[in-house]
């Protein structure tokens, strides 16, 4: 009798635990964001939502954890060969399989890196320092650089690995050429090594993924989500409504004005965290005369005192409070705290002082101020146009009349990128995917030439600074390198070439049984999610 009841109890227990795991087993996550992935081809678009979707299915050699640290993915270890500073060695993970069952080997890595470096790839800019990629054995790859490149591994985090045989079979060995008449196979088909597999793909409508049960990291990550349904919803109000009505579980790109309302809803959770992106104003410091100002024969922005006056006029806390509703971190330099080279001292900014700023202006010879055109995007960064409107008012207080021109990003960015640039005063945001100051120096401070200075619309050119920036790329002595970085920041901060405003923060809203941490790259790894057991 006793025995039987025990058996019964055991059976009951087993049944309930089976039921409990079954309930946990099938969990769908409906995920929404303002934009869709533009293409599933892993090397065709180096862009936020495209990378975020790809990260569920494809994997790079290494990724970044939520605190911004480099962690192994398809590579388990990497180093510069002790006897040859030109060669990076990557040891590859063993026992990994692609979604179609093919084993992952060094051939796939060589193929994928070469594909990422090919002319129609959007990732080739990250790999310009590489001379060749070679297989050593099935699980070792050597990447040979043109000169010593101690930071190469920082560039791998968004370069995904495809299967060579699959790509060859489906005639997709090169990323899409937009002049071609036919669609590339990889645009809507996926064969990766990642934790989720593609089930359905309707661009701009819905992308369905299911769990890859033979994923190599199955035991190391919770992977409680069995199915992902990704639906882009462009309109802010509709996206928030879809979360409130329970039609989606997790929403990115939460508009700042809705955060408070969502936080007040007990069924929802809002996670807020810093993004690895700074927002700032740039000034033409190099032209002899400005076209859009009312000063003839000279360039007021070439005078450091004028730049300091403008920097002093910007009330960063007011922008944070009023324009951003608290959702930003005021900054004194264009370097987010995640980036190597950041210091608190560097990030300090002057106190708002209208009288001191006016004095600087009159010392520089502009007691009455001057006028100038400020260019601003209106659809790229969080409340970008609002930030510009606010600074226009603040500059007005010290007598500088900024005429605001805010336009779509498709018109704004070419103004900065064109050679010579077509703007003299502009707002720009800069994310740092390599998490190293070098990336900021190279694109924003180095003289515009070749692969460097692409976004330096300042017409700033300093031979000494350029030489120091170039030396960073090949300096293998870490202490020496850090000293050069600190030195560069000191010079550049003193020059006040950019007026840093803030670092952006990201807000994710979700049902409260799930907890998605904010990643500084605005990427999400669904495999790490676990549901709250109730």
């Amino acid at each position: 009798m006793k025995l039987r009841s025990l058996a019964l109890k055991l059976a009951l227990l087993a049944a309930t635990s089976v039921a409990a795991t079954a309930a946990l087993e099938a969990r769908t996550l409906k995920w929404s964001r303002s934009g869709d992935s533009l293409t599933l081809d892993p090397h065709a678009q180096n862009e936020g939502p495209t990378a975020a979707v790809a990260h569920q299915m494809y994997e790079p050699l290494a990724t970044r954890s939520v605190d911004g640290k480099l962690v192994p993915a398809l590579a388990t270890a990497w180093r510069i060969l002790p006897d040859n500073p030109l060669i990076w060695e990557f040891k590859l993970r063993q026992g990994v399989k692609f979604h179609d069952g093919a084993p992952f080997t060094a051939d796939d890595v060589v193929f994928s890196l070469e594909r990422a470096m090919s002319p129609t790839s959007d990732f080739k800019g990250l790999w310009t320092s590489v001379e060749s990629v070679a297989k050593v054995d099935d699980h070792t790859v050597h990447v040979k650089t043109k000169g010593p490149n101690p930071l190469l591994v920082q560039n791998v985090t968004n370069t995904f690995i495809m299967n060579k045989a699959w790509a060859e079979k489906n005639n997709t060995v090169k990323p899409q050429d937009f002049k071609n008449k036919e669609e590339n196979f990889a645009v809507r088909n996926v064969n990766g090594t990642g934790p989720y597999m593609l089930v359905s793909r309707e661009p701009d409508v819905k992308t369905g993924l299911k769990r890859n049960d033979s994923y190599w990291g199955r035991g190391e990550t919770p992977m409680e989500v069995t199915e992902i349904i990704y639906t882009p919803v462009k309109q802010d109000a509709t996206r928030v409504a879809a979360l409130l009505s329970g039609e989606v579980d997790f929403v990115q790109d939460v508009p700042v004005q809705d955060i408070q309302k969502l936080q007040g809803d007990s069924k929802l959770r809002v996670n807020i965290g810093p993004e690895n992106r700074s927002i700032f104003l740039g000034m033409d410091v190099g032209s002899a005369d400005l076209k859009t100002d009312n000063v003839t024969g000279k360039n007021p922005l070439a005078d450091k005192r004028v730049r300091q006056a403008l920097n002093m006029a910007v009330n960063r806390e007011a922008i944070q409070r009023v324009v951003m509703r608290g959702q930003s971190v005021p900054a004194g330099a264009i370097i987010p705290p995640f980036v190597a080279g950041y210091t608190n001292e560097l990030d300090s900014y002057p106190k708002v002082d209208v009288n001191a700023a006016k004095k600087l202006l009159s010392d520089a010879g502009y007691p009455q101020g001057f006028s100038i055109t400020l260019h601003c995007p209106n659809d790229r960064y969080v409340n970008d146009e609002g930030i510009c409107q606010a600074v226009v008012g603040m500059f007005g207080q010290i007598g500088v009349k900024a005429n605001l021109v805010s336009q779509s990003k498709s018109i704004h960015f070419p103004l900065i990128q064109k050679d010579p640039p077509e703007t003299e005063f502009f707002l720009l945001g800069w994310g740092v995917p390599t998490y190293d100051s070098d990336y900021i120096f190279t694109f924003l401070y180095h003289t515009r030439a070749g692969a460097r200075g692409g976004f330096n619309a300042l017409r700033y050119s300093n031979k000494d600074v350029d030489a120091k920036i170039v030396s960073l790329a090949s300096e293998t002595d870490l202490n020496k390198r850090n000293a050069t970085v600190a030195d560069l920041w000191k010079i550049l901060k003193d020059e006040t070439l950019y007026i840093a405003i803030h670092n952006q923060t990201l807000a994710y809203a979700m049902k409260n049984d799930v907890n998605v941490p904010v990643h500084p790259d605005n990427t999400v790894w669904i495999k790490y999610l676990s549901f709250k057991r109730s």
Partner: protein
């Protein structure tokens, strides 16, 4: 008849050419696609090469000639944004827009006529006054607000209807329809109401005015004098004559409903041509913008042609006019 149709057709082709030429001269004001197509690490040289490769450095007439040349062969190129053939994209999004537009037009016409007739017959009733006042709201409220309002009421508060998307669709050949599934039908309700609301008020006001006019005409008074029942006069005699201009307007409105579903589609994330176009404009996806504008011009040309031909058949005066011109 043939000469008349040929004349309308050649006019239509001219419209298509002019629209596409205008569109092409406007594209450079929308922005530069290169900035959106390349990551921030791209060099000046990469950007120049891509622009050169895509022929964006050529003069506008050259680009236009190339577009027309390819379009005549049925080739609209590859989307800069999605790397897919533009003809595939249009074919994929077309059913969603057509279903939304046709249902909206149907809703607007049926309800508009019914309410218009009612408001004309009971012109002093309180309900008629209410309907007329409500129609003023419909004319003056922007579509965007109506859509958001409906979403908050029916999706967030009541949870009866989905706030976005098309629900489940069924494929019939290349056509995807939302009319055969419950979620598909539920998803249609709010977008149809939103898109049709403005047209509804327009048709209702037109019907009411026409009906009131017709009721004052001689033949209606004669019919009354003959002792024909009021119901018969209203619905057999007066309504028929009211309908001629109403149907014309409703038909012409169908074209603009298809073309201007953009706002409604954006609010409800409706996967149709309007959403495709909005995304294309933001990205400066020139091939998609060009093809879409051609498509809209084509729809207008076809609708106008159909209306022209219908007049030709219905109205003997046009026929004799055409014959007289020939002589």
């Amino acid at each position: 008849m043939f000469a008349y149709a040929a004349k309308s057709l050649s006019q239509g082709l001219l419209v298509l050419l002019v629209v596409s030429a205008l569109a092409f001269s406007m594209f450079r004001f929308v922005g530069d696609p290169i900035a959106n197509m390349m990551g921030q690490e791209a060099t000046q040289q990469d950007r120049r090469e891509l622009a050169e490769h895509l022929g964006l450095n050529d003069s506008v007439p050259t680009q236009y000639a190339r577009f027309i040349g390819a379009a005549l062969r049925g080739d609209f190129g590859v989307s800069y944004r999605q790397a897919r053939k533009v003809s595939d994209l249009i074919a994929e999004k077309l059913p969603a827009t057509i279903e939304l537009a046709v249902l909206s037009a149907l809703f607007a016409t049926v309800c508009g006529v019914a309410l218009g007739v009612y408001a004309a017959i009971r012109r002093d009733g309180w309900l008629a006054h209410l309907v007329m006042s409500a129609s003023l709201v419909g004319v003056s409220l922007p579509t965007f607000l109506i859509g958001i309002g409906l979403i908050y009421l029916f999706a967030v508060e009541l949870r009866w209807l989905p706030s976005f998307g098309r629900g489940d669709t069924v494929k019939i050949g290349w056509w995807s329809t939302g009319l055969l599934t419950t979620t598909g039908l539920k998803s249609l309700i709010m977008p149809v109401l939103t898109l049709g609301f403005f047209q509804l008020t327009l048709i209702m006001r037109l019907t009411r005015a026409q009906m009131l006019e017709t009721m004052r005409t001689e033949y209606v008074r004669f019919a009354r004098a003959r002792g024909i029942p009021e119901q018969t006069i209203r619905f057999r005699h007066a309504l028929k004559n009211t309908m001629v201009p109403v149907i014309t307007i409703a038909g012409l409105q169908l074209g603009s409903v298809i073309a201007f579903a953009i706002v409604t589609e954006t609010v409800f994330q409706w996967p149709g041509l309007g959403s495709l176009f909005v995304n294309a404009v933001q990205f400066v996806d020139i091939p998609v913008m060009a093809a879409y504008l051609m498509f809209v011009a084509f729809v207008f040309v076809v609708v106008n042609l159909a209306v022209d031909l219908a007049y030709f058949i219905l109205d003997p005066r046009i026929r004799t006019g055409a014959a007289a011109a020939k002589r």
